[in-house]
Symmetry: C2
Subunit: 452 residues, 2 copies
């Protein structure tokens, strides 16, 4: 009988642990915590304060600590490592796959790194060196070295016997890699054809030779796109001479895709790195302060436009009421355009061939809404202040602001991407400042020209 509803059981176990942790019942925590999946332990640690975290962390089995360290966010990882002795760190990390060890290295002290390396056998250390040779966000950085390789000259029966002797296959093994005597990739053999074909068939007759392999230097987002496009579960990684050096599996790709989405959201809000909810207040405040500082400088630059028109505002105080409305509408229009453009740049549907046409159309969309909201604000302002001239000026300012918001919302991310600056991080702040300046100039300039 299959365990019915494992998801519900998981939730139940989680709650038992939470209750044990809250009541500080150390022996019960020790007894329960190791029934949880490492990913569940990671989620639990993220959601509890520092003192409870220590209790959970010291109760968990050292075999699972490494997996948990991989799963938690950067901030929490830091706090957990601080609670571990050097020896415990080394022991926890020794249980991990090579690509995972490589991911953790930047967070470890030199002493721990040295001891981990000493504990590895020669071949594993060689594999680790190879993974570490590539940046984290490339195919080489993503790969593991758990490839199952075969030769093309043998029959399926021989392959099956080899696999039986070898025992369990690495996770996500949907295909075996066929290499020549110099480890050059010749093809791949799907596990399913091993099952669906006769034992006398030769590997060379059955192997796929039109395969998707990744050069170790390929950026991880391109690897992810290819996994999606070609429905891959695993794929070989090769060096510049087509030698097989590793394997990328779909679980790492899922992580890349999830992180891409989260990074855009965090980047837009100007949060430097993943935050630990229970990190010391000053550390989290610091993580956000730089962004707020930049914003303040930009806001002051935009506001300095207003100071030039203080005399006008003194005469027509209504302008002070309308300024934030103009800024709000401009900012929102620009953010809509940014969302569309950044998505298009991300999936390559916006490219040098069509960038100009796309910008032109964004400008028209902004102008279309600009006209609609210009009419609305004209009516509201005229009604509110009983001043048709003021209504007309606000309408003109609204149209100018909304159409330039859409235009700059389209231009800025394209330019930033060409300058190799992440458009998700910087576009919002640059766009908002420019649009504020234009909006303030438009309404105050028109008012001072026409009304005073």
């Amino acid at each position: 009988m299959p365990t019915s509803e494992p998801l519900e059981i998981r939730e139940e176990r989680r709650e038992q642990v939470v209750r044990a942790v809250e009541s500080g019942d150390t022996s019960r925590v020790k007894q329960l915590i190791n029934t949880l999946h490492p990913a569940d332990i990671a989620d639990l640690l993220e959601s509890i304060p520092q003192d409870e975290r220590v209790l959970v962390w010291q109760s968990a089995n050292v075999n699972t600590l490494g997996e948990v360290l991989i799963e938690v966010s950067d901030g929490v990882r830091e706090s957990l490592l601080e609670e571990m002795s050097h020896i415990r760190q080394v022991e926890a990390i020794s249980h991990l796959d090579i690509d995972e060890i490589a991911d953790l290295f930047p967070d470890l002290s030199d002493r721990v790194v040295a001891e981990v390396l000493l504990n590895l056998d020669k071949e594993t250390r060689k594999g680790l060196d190879q993974v570490l040779a590539y940046p984290e966000d490339t195919a080489g950085g993503l790969m593991n070295i758990d490839t199952v390789i075969i030769r093309e000259g043998v029959t399926l029966r021989v392959v099956r016997r080899y696999l039986r002797l070898r025992g369990e296959l690495p996770e996500y093994t949907d295909k075996l890699f066929v290499v020549d005597s110099e480890y050059r990739l010749k093809g791949t053999l799907p596990l399913s054809s091993l099952v669906t074909h006769k034992g006398t068939t030769l590997v060379s007759d059955l192997m796929a030779t039109e395969i998707v392999d990744f050069n170790a230097h390929l950026p991880d987002d391109e690897v992810a796109a290819a996994f999606e496009r070609y429905n891959l579960i695993s794929a070989p990684v090769t060096d510049n001479e087509n030698h097989l050096i590793g394997r990328i599996t779909i679980d790492d790709i899922v992580d890349v895709i999830r992180e891409e989405g989260e990074q855009v959201i965090m980047a837009q809000a100007g949060i430097k790195e993943e935050e630990d909810l229970f990190a010391p207040i000053h550390r989290r405040a610091k993580n956000r302060a730089l962004w707020l500082g930049v914003n303040m400088v930009m806001a002051i630059i935009a506001a300095s436009v207003i100071t030039r028109f203080e005399a006008t505002i003194e005469q027509i105080v209504a302008l002070a009421v309308l300024l934030p409305v103009i800024a709000n509408m401009g900012g929102n229009t620009g953010m809509q355009t940014l969302a569309v453009i950044i998505r298009g740049l991300g999936n390559d549907t916006i490219n040098p061939d069509n960038a100009f046409a796309v910008m032109r159309r964004e400008f028209l969309v902004g102008s279309f809404n600009g006209i609609i909201f210009a009419v609305m604000t004209a009516l509201i302002t005229t009604f509110w202040y009983g001043d048709i001239a003021l209504g007309m000026i606000v309408a003109m300012a609204m149209l100018i602001t909304l159409s330039s918001a859409a235009l700059f919302g389209a231009i800025i991310p394209v330019i930033l991407e060409r300058m190799e600056i992440d458009p998700a991080v910087a576009s919002g702040i640059v766009m908002t400042t420019i649009v504020d300046i234009i909006g303030f100039f438009a309404i105050l300039g028109l008012a001072s020209l026409l009304l005073t």
Copy 2:
């Protein structure tokens, strides 16, 4: 020899097609377009204007049109369907898997749906009915019916012979499903153990009985979380009586995860549905106008606070300069908190157990930065206007605004989630309005009390 660098070849082919399309060379487009992967055709269609789209669409092989319709965004799909006759729609759709047909049904006319149903054999129609019985965003809506089932009483040799007779396995088949005579799920048999064990072994001796299966009503984000947690490639879907009714595969999960990320970004900007870059201007403007309208109402509500203090502003015009700075800083602080909280709610690290503690800490983070920026603005304002009293008032207003921005940034998404409103959509606008009102009241109220 493996095709070296298929990714580069793909890029080259794409450019050839683009050039052929741009030069209007119909016969060359026809010749080249069918060498592209459906996902590549979809990307190409997204990135070109309507008239070029028609050319590409009419040149593509009808076998691939269905796949392309699945890959494109909602807006583009609409424009492509408009270009197809009923017969061509029916033919294109008939080539798809059942879960894909089900996904397209909402976009098709009743006549096309009826004809597609007529073309299906009885069993497939029954399967389709089953998929359509569940909402798109549940396990049932995600599933396909291409399960490979076996009985527990047979040997591996029998299973292998069955698979050989059956021929090619469905994509992403990493395990076979073991059911009893009434189709109730008993366990799963990994393909790899079929390969690594002797032919005389019984399925019942080898099958996994602790399996992760999904009730058809489970929401898709929980399915996705379980796929990540338990490293799944495929998983069975069952009804309430534990009958096997379908199978979910990792490719659909990757789509769910990617869409989750994109939806948050679009939702935050108030874009109702995925936009076609080349849709008619008025249609795209309409897609964004509702959000801008809501924003304008909220901005006017916030601005109406300012009208109560027009007399104060007339006396101290500097306040008109400072209002947008306060609003900007409050909005940004709140957005930072929102990003952290919405992420935490999404991955369940923020839950009823710790929500209060999290809010308290957010408030403290906001207040910490509030103090820092209060001091800075006090210095800047005093220096700028030579008015210490004004500087002190701006500082107080800044502190009040930033701490309440962080507090409301934490409270609002938690409340919205409890009201079952998507926090990504509504949190930003509600938070900004509240924070603007508080900020405007703080600076203008303090100024009118203390300075006039």
